[in-house]
């Protein structure tokens, strides 16, 4: 009998453990620059950033399709380089693009996953039936997947990933390319996964509203490095309860430099094009606007609003996430 690989008892390590993980592609492009993070069992963790930030490379290393240049990563204690099959046995992936056998039925796609992940046949049959019901695909499950709509296919792919009851579930940009109605439906589906406390979820996205809604903690990744890592609430708290947004007549960078030199704007303030955003830090908006006007900065419009994760991202990276994407 083969030695059992999986631990038989409870374990003490994080579900995902990443240490000094680095990837340099051929040609010298350093996509990931030695990142560190842990994800606790049952946690929903978001990896935010634009395209080319290093998210997909990080997911690739964790799912053993990209070989790290240095550093290490473990899934449920299994090293992804030294024990790749064991690491894959405890995880499932929902890929950014459609990854299905379009010519086969939805049920055949689910069944294939069950067999490859070694789910006993009787268990698989029951579980697949439960997932088909839970994900609302019962009426089309025996049709070829190529006849599914984008949203139906996405539901199927998430259901498929859950057939093996993974300890770690990777959702790589799960809502990208979907129309707004289907996207919101799918967010409800993903939000429901939060109730599965025995499944750890790593979600990548460049939709910050998704991250705020779904994630316990988020890491903002920029140019291969983690620029910030905390709960969405803590990241937002860094900008205070309210921010002031100005639409300037001139150059935002010059205005920002002027306001900083006068102590009106702090390091939390940032300028994107002709738009300037300043954390109010408890000051009344009127007082701040008066100070700005006195400093000679001309604005065509002012607006106060609560900060969003987009503001956090802009402050940290200096580029709008959608623009960078």
């Amino acid at each position: 009998m083969q030695v059992a690989y999986a631990p038989d008892t409870e374990f003490d390590w994080p579900a995902i453990e990443v240490r000094a993980l680095r990837k340099v592609y051929r040609g010298g492009v350093e996509a990931v620059k030695g990142i560190d993070f842990d994800v606790a069992s049952g946690e929903v963790f978001g990896l935010l950033g634009p395209n080319a930030a290093g998210k997909s490379t990080t997911i690739g290393m964790l799912t053993t399709t990209v070989v790290p240049t240095s550093g290490c990563a473990r899934l449920a204690g299994y090293d992804v380089v030294k024990e790749p099959r064991k690491a894959r046995s405890v995880s499932s992936v929902v890929f950014q693009e459609a990854v299905v056998d379009g010519g086969l039925s939805g049920r055949a796609n689910l069944d294939l996953h069950a067999r490859l992940w070694g789910v006993p046949a009787a268990t698989a049959a029951t579980r697949i039936d439960e997932l088909i019901e839970a994900f609302g695909v019962a009426e089309l499950i025996d049709r070829p997947v190529e006849s599914f709509s984008g949203g139906q296919r996405r539901r199927l792919e998430i259901a498929r990933a859950l057939v093996s009851q993974p300890q770690v579930l990777f959702l790589d940009e799960p809502t990208v390319g979907l129309d707004p109605r289907i996207r919101h439906e799918l967010l409800d589906v993903i939000a429901a996964l939060r109730s599965r406390r025995d499944t750890t979820i790593l979600l990548t996205t460049h939709y910050l509203d998704e991250a705020r809604r779904l994630c316990d903690r988020v890491a903002i990744i920029h140019q291969g490095e983690i620029a910030a890592l905390d709960t969405p609430a803590s990241l937002l708290a860094g900008l205070g309860p309210e921010i002031l947004e100005l639409r300037l007549d001139g150059d935002g960078d010059a205005a920002l430099a002027s306001l900083r030199s006068r102590g009106i704007a702090t390091t939390d303030a940032f300028a994107i094009g002709s738009s300037l955003t300043i954390a109010l830090d408890g000051r009344p908006a009127g007082e701040a606007i008066a100070a700005i006007t006195d400093a000679g900065v001309r604005a065509s419009g002012f607006m106060t609003r609560p900060p969003t994760l987009d503001d956090v991202y802009l402050r940290l990276t200096g580029a709008p996430i959608a623009q960078a994407a």
């Binding site: 690989y5 409870e10 399709t65 894959r88 067999r115």
Partner: protein, 285 residues
């Protein structure tokens, strides 16, 4: 922090390794077979040209030129020769499926599965072998109905099957290697004539290689297809082993057959290993 560790995901790795791999291989082969069955063209198209050769061109040439002027029936000779076109086309079609899988299929899901990645190649090979077996049986049956004269014995079946299986393994290794290295379908299809069709004209598929000029005959002897066809004919058409003598120039046909089988086996082993290695390397970055 705590979490339950006994999960079905890990169950896959708890069974004996051999059972686990056999189950995965069967699962993957069934998947490939199901996808192939949905595409009847993949089954029928490789058969068309060989059947045309066996039922139209060979009888016509035989009638016009008087055959090979030996004890060998020309229709049977060419029918076996066209296996050298049938198998490469079947293998190339199967390789095309790998590219389709990569671009619009479930290959990424399979790469994320807790199985040895070599099984993805081997499962495709199993299906190609089954498909090629079916196609060869149809070809020989059609040729026999058209008047081809075959002399099939148990020993002959051994040589025929061994040669055709090993040649199929070799050709699928070539197809898999190309599919892993060539990014787009268009480029892959562009490579087909050089890989699947050109050797057919050098390897004595339509005529014995001794009628070729010396340099071309020497080149033909280096091709695994030449050895495979000589073996298949030794099994089904010409028990004297004329084709084997043309290659080896020895007197003992059985010794020559083993030598040729060794050559085909060597190519099969080398290229399927190369195919697996290339696939595994292309699957990760």
């Amino acid at each position: 922090m705590s979490a339950t560790a006994i999960r079905t995901g890990a169950m896959a790795l708890r069974r004996p390794a051999l059972t686990r791999r056999a189950t995965a291989l069967r699962t993957l082969a069934m998947r490939r077979a199901a996808l192939t069955a949905r595409n009847p063209r993949q089954i029928a198209v490789p058969l068309l040209t060989p059947i045309l050769f066996a039922t139209v061109i060979a009888p016509a040439l035989s009638k016009a030129l008087g055959g090979l002027h030996t004890h060998i029936d020309y229709i049977a000779f060419v029918s076996v020769g066209t296996v050298g076109l049938l198998v490469p086309l079947a293998a190339i079609f199967a390789g095309l499926s790998v590219i389709v899988d990569r671009h619009s299929g479930a290959q990424k899901e399979l790469l994320a599965a807790p199985i040895p990645r070599a099984l993805l190649v081997l499962s495709n090979l199993v299906v190609v072998l089954a498909l090629a077996t079916f196609q060869v049986i149809v070809l020989i049956a059609v040729a026999a109905l058209r008047g081809g004269s075959f002399d099939i014995t148990a020993t002959g079946v051994f040589w025929f099957v061994a040669a055709s299986v090993l040649f199929t393994v070799f050709m699928y290794g070539v197809a898999e290697t190309l599919a892993a290295r060539i990014p787009r379908q268009e480029e892959y299809i562009g490579a087909t004539p050089a890989v699947a069709i050109l050797p057919f004209f050098f390897a004595g598929a339509l005529f014995p290689i001794h009628v070729l000029p010396g340099a071309l005959a020497a080149f033909a002897k280096l091709l695994p297809l030449t050895h495979a066809l000589a073996l298949m004919r030794y099994g089904f058409v010409d028990h004297r082993g004329t084709g084997l003598h043309d290659i080896w120039g020895m007197t003992n046909a059985t010794t020559e057959a083993w030598l040729s089988l060794g050559v085909v086996a060597m190519f099969a082993t080398a290229f399927i290993a190369l195919g697996i290695r290339t696939f595994k390397r292309s699957a990760v970055s």
